[in-house]
Amino acid sequence: MQIYLDLFIVFFKIGLFGFGGGYAMLPLIQHEVVSEPHKWLSMADFTDIVAISQMTPGPIAINSATYVGYTVSGSVWGAAVATFAVCLPPLVIMLLISKFYLRFRENHYMEMIFAGLKPAIIGLITAAALTLMNSHNFIDYKSIVIFVAVFIATLFKIDPIKLIIVAGISGIVLY
C-alpha cells in the first residue's frame, strides 16, 4: 500500500510543478524518480524511458508515470495511480484557468493581455521547432528530404495524421 501512496505523492508533485510541458519537465521527473529518497530507476533506465517516450505517442510526463508506476509496483494499478496523480494538478488548475478565461474573455484588460501573448506563443512554437532541429532528429540528407516534403505538404493543409504515417513508412523504406 505504501508504494501506491509514494507513487501518488511523487507524480502529483511532478504534475503540480511541471511547467512548460515536454522536455522542460524532464529534470523534474529525473530528480523525483532517479535521485534520493526513492531511487526507483537508475540513470540508464531513465534514459530508456526518454527514448521510449520519443518513440511512443503522448506526453512524456504521462509516459514516465505509466512506466515508473508499472515497474515500481509490478502491477497495472501502480501505473494507473501514477498516471492519475500526474494528471490531477493540471486538471484542477487548468479547469480554474479555463473557467476564469471563459468568463472574462470579453474583458478589456484580458484583450490587452492576449494581444501581447499571441506573438509570445508563436515565439514558443518557433523555439520548439528550433530546438528540435538537432542531430537526433536530422541524421542525414534523407531526413532533410522528408522535412522539406512534409513542410510543403503541411502548407497545402494535408492531414497531419496521414503525414505521420507516410513519413514512418518512408523511414522503413529508406533506412
Binding site: G22, A51, M55, N63, Y101, P119, P160, L163
Partner: protein, 189 residues
C-alpha cells in the same frame, strides 16, 4: 456551451482526443497541427481566433500541454465532465502503449523496423511544427513590433533556457501595462 444531447458529444470528444493522443509523437507542440485540424477545422469546438488563447492558457498551467489543451477544450464544450473525458482520451493511448512496452515489449526500442519508422517520423514532426508558423503569424496580423517579440521569445527559450511559463507571465504583465499606458495616452490626447 452546446445544448445538444450530452452523450454523443462526449463520445465524439473522447474519440477525437484519443486520436490526437494516439498521433502526438515528438512532444507537446507536435499536437498543435493535430488540434488545429481536428478541433478547429473539423469539429469547430474552438474558433481559429481562440486557438492562440488556448495555447497560451495551456502553457500557463503546470502539466503537459497536450493534457492542458484537452482540459480547456473539454470544459468549453461540455463542462467539467467534458474536461475529464477529453483528458482520458488524450492519456489512454500512451497509457496502454507504455504498459504494453513495460510489460512485454522490452526489445521494442532496439527493433530495427521501429527505429527506421521513427527515423522517418522525426524530421516530419519538426516540419509540421515549423510550417504553420508563417500562416499563423499572418492570420494573427502580427506586425514588426510583434515579430520582434516572436524572435525574442524564441531565442530566450531555445538558446538561453528560459522557462516558457515565466516568459508568458512576464509578457502578460507587460502587455497589460502597455495596453493601459496606450489607453491613457489616447484619452489624454
Amino acid at each position: 456551451m452546446l445544448k445538444e444531447p450530452k452523450m454523443p458529444i462526449l463520445l465524439q470528444m473522447f474519440l477525437t482526443f484519443f486520436k490526437i493522443g494516439m498521433f502526438t509523437l515528438g512532444g507537446g507542440y507536435a499536437m498543435v497541427p493535430l488540434i488545429q485540424r481536428e478541433i478547429v477545422e473539423k469539429r469547430g469546438w474552438v474558433e481559429e481566433s481562440e486557438f492562440f488563447e488556448l495555447l497560451a492558457l495551456a502553457q500557463s498551467s503546470p502539466g503537459p500541454i497536450a493534457v492542458n489543451s484537452s482540459i480547456f477544450v473539454g470544459y468549453k464544450v461540455a463542462g467539467v465532465t467534458g474536461s475529464i473525458v477529453a483528458t482520458l482520451g488524450t492519456t489512454l493511448p500512451s497509457f496502454f502503449i507504455i504498459l504494453l512496452i513495460a510489460a512485454w515489449l522490452v526489445g521494442f526500442r532496439s527493433n530495427p523496423h521501429v527505429e527506421a519508422f521513427f527515423k522517418g517520423i522525426r524530421p516530419a514532426v519538426v516540419a509540421m511544427i515549423a510550417a504553420p508558423l508563417f500562416s499563423l503569424s499572418r492570420a494573427m496580423g502580427i506586425g514588426w513590433k510583434g515579430l520582434t517579440l516572436v524572435a525574442a521569445v524564441a531565442m530566450l527559450v531555445a538558446f538561453a533556457g528560459f522557462s516558457p511559463a515565466i516568459l508568458i507571465g512576464i509578457t502578460a504583465i507587460c502587455s497589460l501595462l502597455y495596453g493601459i499606458w496606450q489607453k491613457r495616452r489616447q484619452q489624454g490626447a
